[in-house]
Subunit: 589 residues, 2 copies
């Protein structure tokens, strides 16, 4: 057996910031060297960030990525870190420039050693579903790269290579590798339980060797990466686990089988991949002091989601140079939860809550908002909207829903004006997923904002997270931030006297379940009705969901936490004549 | 030689409306039968519309499409139209249900005859670039279908099969077919000259046989299809050409080589496609009266674009049940052109122009708007914004850009209130592509609307189209609709005294060229500078374009007319640290 000290660098990068990300990779390599690591793995496309979307079509971008990875190798050597073997993800291209995948971009892992890129591995399985569009941009690789490092045969793979059967994992088993190093950019998703941990265990058994998995952390527009880097032994036991949602250098000492010392490339029998082999370093002496590898427990379901929302907002602000956020505080649970997340994300001193009472606002809407502001310590002001409401009514003749929407839009004008006046700042939209699904919002009113932190959180989960956040505070001996009345009172938009959400919508407990079937599950009418819901209710909800597509298109981005979030990964036509309740093209009687 | 009367049905369908589209296909088949056609081709996915996006992931939708195509065959037979051979595009699936391409949807052409679906062809080449995401949804077919119809061997292909080298076209040549029937859903694009006509000619020569090409027309969200159906003979001469942007049944009598009467499937040597053969009908007698096939000339570049914009807006309204449109009329060229397009699209009686003068509005902004309204005959009202401006300034303390934006947002609140009051209606956003590119607009102000007709029209083209529309009127002996002063005056947002667009932006002649390089061409900084532009100007424009991504995400949909429109086919991160002016990861000196 050979000894290898491995470091999994789960870091937070910025898409497109090749310079900044490169400096960060350098810095973390220094830290890994200081801990006597011999092999350090950085995540998939750590140099460019993930996903780069159409930046992959710019030759100048790909060129900079290619050159930077070579410069990174030189700089490591210049700093005396050349002996450390570094695996890092970046974008490269094949050599034939060709439309439409110009110059055929590839998603590549580079292996750096002694000032050179000594080997490359191009991702074989390209995901093209959900939030992924890799087949749109990249050309798949057809070669498995096996490196001999410290006397161990190390195969390299990238993210989706692990999720699909066959391909690099099967070829790793054929190659008889001692370690499979997998670099990832795998976004967080709620309700996956421990799918990823189980996958890593299973693939380690299939590959017949230990498996090291490193993942990004951080928010990138609508995605949030959770880290959760880990190592499984060849039996599928998870022996190392990193933290979630924070940067960390996860270190472990591994005892691995000696290299089989095969020379030259072979071809995988089953997978038709070429197995190329590169000798990088000989066996290492054991490090001076042993390392205790971490085994972080996974967060609870509630804490996981809350952490994802906090990090998603923090990074959207931080990475875009936004210093302050403004939001309307109605005393309702949605804006209350958003204000709490914002205070946890960027500090209450940078959060500006505005109460905009109207003639229809209840007394508790004002007192609950003020109570919240005081508990969190955020900036709070009150701007009543009556003078503006009156001014518009003197100009135009409207009533009913148009007059209700007017109030919501006047509030939005005030928030936007304050935000524009105090740049760099954004308004936070406080809509939740249930509202977005059925279009229960005023476009250019409460739907206004630069970011929508709870856009992918169903209303029933809004209450659940608020309760968790209060309990979490109590457990830490702190004051619960959220006024109990905001959690328990009945939801209302307060745009007309006595209005309640249930005037327009079914109870959220029912609505959220139907939305889950229709939106997350892509179930049809017959299946949803068969699951036990009222026919008219199902038809009504389905129609509301379809009709609200035009509103959702203009909704601000927000952190995705579910399998199917409105936004990047759900693509439906606005102009959509699909109505399941009418049988199509009926037979002539 | 055998005789075949062919009908190309270039129709306008609605995505998802399987019932309505099916009835339309029936109706057009009746018309083709009345003209003694023997073979009628309907466009790609004519039964479901194109593109269906995530509807392809719903089993209930695919199931309805499959069943409807069978019912369509039965109904044709029931009506005595069973002898006519109908080729129609729809969605089907393979039989293995499997995630993530659930049940493997396929983009299929069905051949209907005597009440049955007698053959199917699944699209082989799946486009996955630009506006296309077919690889995301569909599984490619691997079989070329050759039908013997009226004693002629007819191969069937679908759209992208024609655009990519090899595959079905090459296999058609090997199969020795007498006609290649290609059904298409090919969106309109400006500046393509006659790429499609040249492609059809070239592929006919490659296939060694005549080629019939039928395309959809109509608007679907951001896409607009232009028809332009055509037939090439085996030498590559275009002998038939349908009109652009209107529904039409294009009929032609063709003399084609007799069937080779090959039995059973063969395998294409070069393309590894299975060539399957189906005898459908024997040779037909010659029709009673010959048909003069049409040869429509192509529209001029200006008329083409203008027609695309009119049809895009008409169908967005018509297919979504929108009866009226509201828009702000500033007297500037953008809102003037949009009002003209809207009047041409849905009738001036359904267009409501609102003038919202402020303290900074020029006299001509009011008189030009009123002049336009009178020329077009649209509904016109004036709502000065001063009372609302004063009300907000009494509530909040803002100045500078925040106060400028306030005016734009107050106008938007008025338009939206009028629209909400008079449903079903939408507001039209009047922003052009140049403004969108650099973010020269007020989010939730002038960017408000349900549709943005000139979203993909650069400012220099806005003037060009306005001039064309006036010339076109004069040529038809009508009054030019657009006041000359709106075309000639200097652009201004009129949000502060003496403001001009050139205070913030380079001249549009220069700006549009840089945008074309950067946005349409995905060119990098070095290439754009090398093309002769000032370094600082290029850096400034590139930065403005990158920074405006968050605004564009919330912009209403609008008809795409270019290679790269902001919206569906251009996907860039909002959080984007890519700065070409800084060399990445500099070498240590």
């Amino acid at each position: 057996m050979a000894h290898l000290r491995i470091a999994l660098a789960q870091l937070n990068v910025i898409v497109g910031d090749i310079k900044g990300n490169g400096e960060k990779i350098l810095d973390w390599t220094r830290r890994a060297a200081a801990k006597e690591a011999q092999l350090v793995l950085f995540p998939e496309t750590a140099l460019t960030g993930y996903p780069v979307e159409d930046l992959a079509l710019r030759q100048s971008f790909i060129e900079e990525s290619r050159q930077s990875v070579s410069r990174l190798a030189s700089r490591l050597a210049d700093e005396g870190l050349g002996e450390l073997v570094v695996v890092v993800g970046y974008l490269d291209r094949t050599d034939e420039p060709e439309h439409p995948k110009k110059g055929h971009p590839q998603n590549v892992a580079a292996v750096l050693h002694r000032g050179e890129v000594v080997a490359r591995y191009a991702k074989h399985h390209l995901p093209n579903y959900g939030v992924f569009d890799e087949f749109r941009y990249f050309k798949p690789g057809n070669e498995l790269t096996v490196l001999t490092i410290g006397g161990v045969d190390v195969a390299v793979a990238i993210c989706e290579d692990l999720w699909q059967d066959g391909g690099p994992v099967a070829a790793t088993a054929e190659a008889g590798a001692g370690l499979l190093a997998v670099i990832n950019a795998s976004p967080y998703e709620r309700d996956k339980d421990d799918t990823r941990g189980e996958l890593v265990s299973r693939r380690a058994r299939e590959a017949g060797c230990a498996l090291a998995y490193v993942n990004l952390i951080g928010g990138q527009d609508e995605l949030v990466f959770d880290g959760d880097s880990m190592i499984s032994d060849a039996d599928g036991t998870l022996i190392v686990r990193g933290p979630q949602f924070v940067e960390d250098l996860v270190l472990a000492d591994l005892e691995l089988p000696d290299s089989q010392a095969v020379n030259g490339p072979t071809v995988s029998r089953a997978e038709k991949l070429i197995i190329s082999r590169h000798h990088v370093t000989d066996a290492y002496p054991a490090p001076s002091t042993p390392i205790e590898a971490p085994r972080y427990p996974r967060l609870s379901a509630d804490e996981e989601v809350y952490s994802a929302l906090v990090l998603g907002l923090r990074d959207y602000c931080g990475k875009n140079g936004i210093e302050r956020v403004y939001l309307g505080l109605s005393g309702g649970i949605d804006s209350t939860l958003v204000a709490t997340i914002a205070s946890d994300a960027i500090g209450a001193a940078n959060v500006y809550g505005i109460s905009n009472p109207s003639a229809y606002s209840s007394e508790h809407s004002k007192t609950d908002a003020a109570d919240l502001a005081q508990r969190l310590g955020l900036n709070f002001s009150t701007v009543p909207i009556a003078p503006a409401v009156d001014a518009f009514h003197s100009l135009i003749d409207i009533d009913g829903v148009a007059a209700e929407n007017l109030q919501a839009r006047i509030r939005a004008v005030i928030w936007m004006a304050e935000s524009n006046q105090h740049n760099p700042s954004i308004v936070l939209a406080c809509g939740n997923k249930s509202e977005l699904a059925v279009g229960y919002s005023t476009i250019y009113g409460d739907a206004v904002g630069g970011f929508a932190p709870i856009k992918d959180v169903p209303k029933t989960w809004v209450w659940r997270l608020a309760t968790w956040r209060n309990d979490h505070a109590v457990a830490r001996g702190e004051q619960p931030p959220i006024p109990e009345n905001s959690i328990t009172k009945e939801p209302s938009a307060e745009l007309r006297p006595g209005q309640k959400d249930t005037d327009s919508l079914p109870p959220y407990e029912v609505l959220d379940k139907i939305i889950a079937e229709y939106v997350e599950g892509d179930q049809g009418r017959a299946e949803i009705i068969a699951a036990g819901y009222d026919v008219d209710l199902v038809d009504r909800v389905m129609r509301m969901v379809d009709r609200a597509e035009y509103k959702r298109r203009q909704y601000p981005p927000g952190t995705k936490i579910s399998f199917k979030a409105f936004g990047r990964d759900r693509r439906l036509p606005i102009t959509n004549g699909w109505r399941e309740e009418h049988p199509a093209l009926e037979a002539i009687p």
